[in-house]
Amino acid sequence: MDGMGAALRQDSALRHATGEAGFIDDLPEVPGLLHGALVLSPVAHGRIEALDPAPALALPGVVAVFGPGDAPGRNDISASGAAQEPLFAEHLVEHWGQAMALVVATDRDAALAGAAAITPVIHALPPVLELAEAVAARSLLMPPQVLARGDVVAGMAQAPLTASGSFRCGGQEHFYLEGQIAIATPGEDGDLLVLSSTQHPTEVQHIIARVLGCAQNRITVQCRRMGGAFGGKESNASWVAAAAALAAHATGRPVKLRLTRKADMAATGKRHPFLFRWTAGFDATGRIAALEALLAADGGHSLDMTPGVVFRAITHALNAYDVPALRIEALGCKTNTVSNTAFRGFGGPQGVLLMEEIFRSIAAATGLDVETVRAKNMAGGENGDETPYGQALDGKLIRRVHAEALAASGWVERRAAIAAFNAEHPTLRKGLGSFALAFGISFGVMHMNQAGALVHVYEDGSIRLNHGGTEMGQGLFIKVAQVVASAFGVPVERIRITATSTGEVPNTSPTAASTGSDLNGWAAHLAASAIRERMAGVAAEIWAVEAGEIGFEDGMVRAGGNRQMSFGELAHACIRRRVSLSATGFYKTPDIHWDPVAMRGKPFFYFSYGASVAEVVVDRLTGEHRCLGAWLVQDCGRSLNPAVDRGQIEGAFIQGMGWMTSEELYWDRTGRLRSLGPSTYKIPGSRDVPPVFVTRILEGSPARAETIFRSKAVGEPPLMLATAVWNALCDATGAVSLDLPASPERLLAAIRAGGR
């Protein structure tokens, strides 16, 4: 089976296994190619007094140095074009590792030596490094967002019990294994072809045009595949490519800019750390009546995508739960750290932490079990099922998914076994935790919910597919090809998958927010259907039947009886009859709206539901832990490709677990990032995978919204399923509150405080 729902391999599977799949750095270098290296700020905050390029230019091989004054257009890389986000720091540096200049040279080592030879003169200013400090000083990048419902003051006053708390979670380095890279090649008359490892070719194009001061039609941006992205190749890919483009434009030579791992980790944005403060009013049954909370995001030094991250955090702060009266304020704070950006989940993973901490406090205050408190506050059932911004949740589905995860784990027996183990063992403590998720699917910025595709059928019946989505390993290309193959009734091998290009499908949105297959799948389906309709018309004419009688299946076109011909024969017949076999498809998500002033609307096309259980063991003496088992249930609607979806679920969970446990960004007191490579920043390795790892795609649950073949997005939601690991760690240590990442140090402190 080739069409929908088939567990087909990733489109480049064979080439990945043989090493033939080309990433940008693997392409043969053309003669005359220059290599770039960045000069980065050595301080976290300061006034730039001088940046003398002479020491670099004196070195052999160095060709030129570019700084903020060298952009023929504007030195501005902000998505909006209105925020103050310079490509190269101008007058002021605002974080350690900020890009100040680009050195280009005839080879990579010469470029790196050139960059190292430049010593910027900077008058250091005191940096703001702590998020709490930024909150106290109201150092903000954007106006606060407030989500409110009901009478919180009365609710709080009437509640028999109240509790408050505060906690924080850290950021996360994307650590895409393929670092940021772009190659810009000048063409005729000011044209520029840019190969960029980007999730957002259109934004790369727009920003290059702005920096160069030229029309967007001069710039073509292409991306065949990325070696991982995870949100880190949205805004960050744009400025890396813009730097390469600036140098290519100025020198007239192709320029490659590939950041070293260290420069990549120093200069590119990460997941936002968050600080949470909350007060909840509840009763002895654990039911919450009122909630007041502050969510503060560390945006770093510039705006980037912080408003979107804050929006998603605040709209996901209640997650799958109901609170009748609440007021949540969310801040995007400014600090002198790298500008934080999109990362898989985009504020959602931070937002959904809030209720989990509150449940633990309520359990501690009432003597109830955390799971009882969780069940008591789930949306739907006896509780309300509407989010505070007015969109309905599916309470039944939340309960079903959560119950399936508990059942998969054998929750009751496991609990008992853990209690027995803990009573026996002198130093090890096991713990169990669960989690349930309602994650909204759509871009928070309404106009971004659009996509285009371009499909050609050639005379021999072969098909070429292009769309605005990018491939970063998530299997988008094979999924969209499956959609097109099923529209034409041909094997998927008949579809030629091609590199994303602004020259083929323009004005696209980034491949992000899990929307890749939702948006591009529909656009490609519309394009393919338009062609199929024309082809059916021709077949109907040939056989003198109604077009409705024509069927496309198994590479054949049929109309009952023995009337049949191959898809290729019909394509040939169409050309002879002067019928176009090329079409564009355009899709925009229906029925979504948002009022940013009232903070109400229906911003999401639908919700993706998921649930998980995790079991951990913690060593009381060292604070080290291991996740022993994970049981995940994820709603994928009617899965387009279960093999791809399963990979996404497993991989996202592991990545989420890394964020919550081992991945810690460390800035020293001067604001210098000290975790600059895999030796100091620990992403999960093969040994961190739970030995029992059960992933289940929810069955018999087609999407209710009119999604492509009733499938649901899967890129981000399962990352949050790792929250069960946090809950299990709290269970094992007796911690009511636990900051993330749950490093051995924090776990030891929790064990001491919790007395286990």
């Binding site: 391999r9 990733q10 480049s12 599977a13 064979l14 080439r15 990945h16 296994a17 043989t18 090493g19 033939e20 799949a21 080309g22 990433f23 750095d25 693997d26 043969p28 080592d109 994307h174 650590f175 895409y176 294994l177 393929e178 670092g179 595949r225 990325m226 070696g227 991982g228 995870f230 070293t260 791992r261 970063m472 390993g473 998530q474 299997g475 093999a643 399963r646 990979g647 996404q648 497993e650 991989g651 996202a652 969970f653 592991i654 990545q655 490579g677 895999p678 030796s679 992403i683 999960p684 390795g685 093969s686 040994r687 995978v689 030995p691 790892f693």
Partner: protein
């Protein structure tokens, strides 16, 4: 200084001048021999993306100076398949979805081949996870990778038994 070394790369002998004695095997393979299947992930010996076999042993080529490997026998991902027939490890990675973005894959496959040749893969997933722990996968495809290594080991064992019989 005019240095040169001889390497056997994927079965072919190559004489290479080394204008810079600091060049690593990784850069030599990628920049000079156009063997770009071997990837650069960190360039610091911590991610395993650059894993190759040097005289049959798993090696992070980003840390290996070419100059100190004069005469070595090198196997990279490009030399693993036998014509159009994939190595059992490659086939198992495809069958078990042992990757997503594919960037770590050549290194994972070379590491798996090395592990199996060292006789260290066995049938215990815990041992495979341990043996493959030097190869990071940010996409988190570890479950598929472990299954692939186990399956490749089984396939090789079966083939060996068949030959013995």
């Amino acid at each position: 200084m005019n240095l040169s070394i001889t390497l056997t790369v994927n079965g072919r002998e190559r004489m290479l001048a080394l204008p810079d004695p600091r060049v690593t095997l990784l850069d030599l393979l990628r920049d000079r021999l156009d063997l770009t299947g071997t990837k650069k992930g960190c360039d610091r010996g911590h991610c395993g993306a650059c894993t190759i076999l040097v005289d049959g042993r798993r090696t992070n080529s980003c840390l290996a100076l070419a100059i100190s490997h004069d005469g070595a026998d090198i196997l990279t991902i490009e030399g693993v398949a036998h014509g159009d027939t994939l190595d059992p490890v490659q086939a198992a990675f495809i069958a078990h979805d042992g990757f997503q973005c594919g960037y770590c894959t050549p290194g994972q496959i070379m590491s798996a081949i090395g592990l199996i040749r060292e006789g260290q893969a066995g049938t215990d997933p815990e041992r495979v996870r341990e043996g493959m722990s030097g190869n990071l996968c940010r996409c988190g495809a570890y479950a598929g990778i472990t299954e692939a290594v186990l399956e490749a080991q089984r396939a090789l064992d079966a083939a060996e038994q068949e030959q013995a019989a």
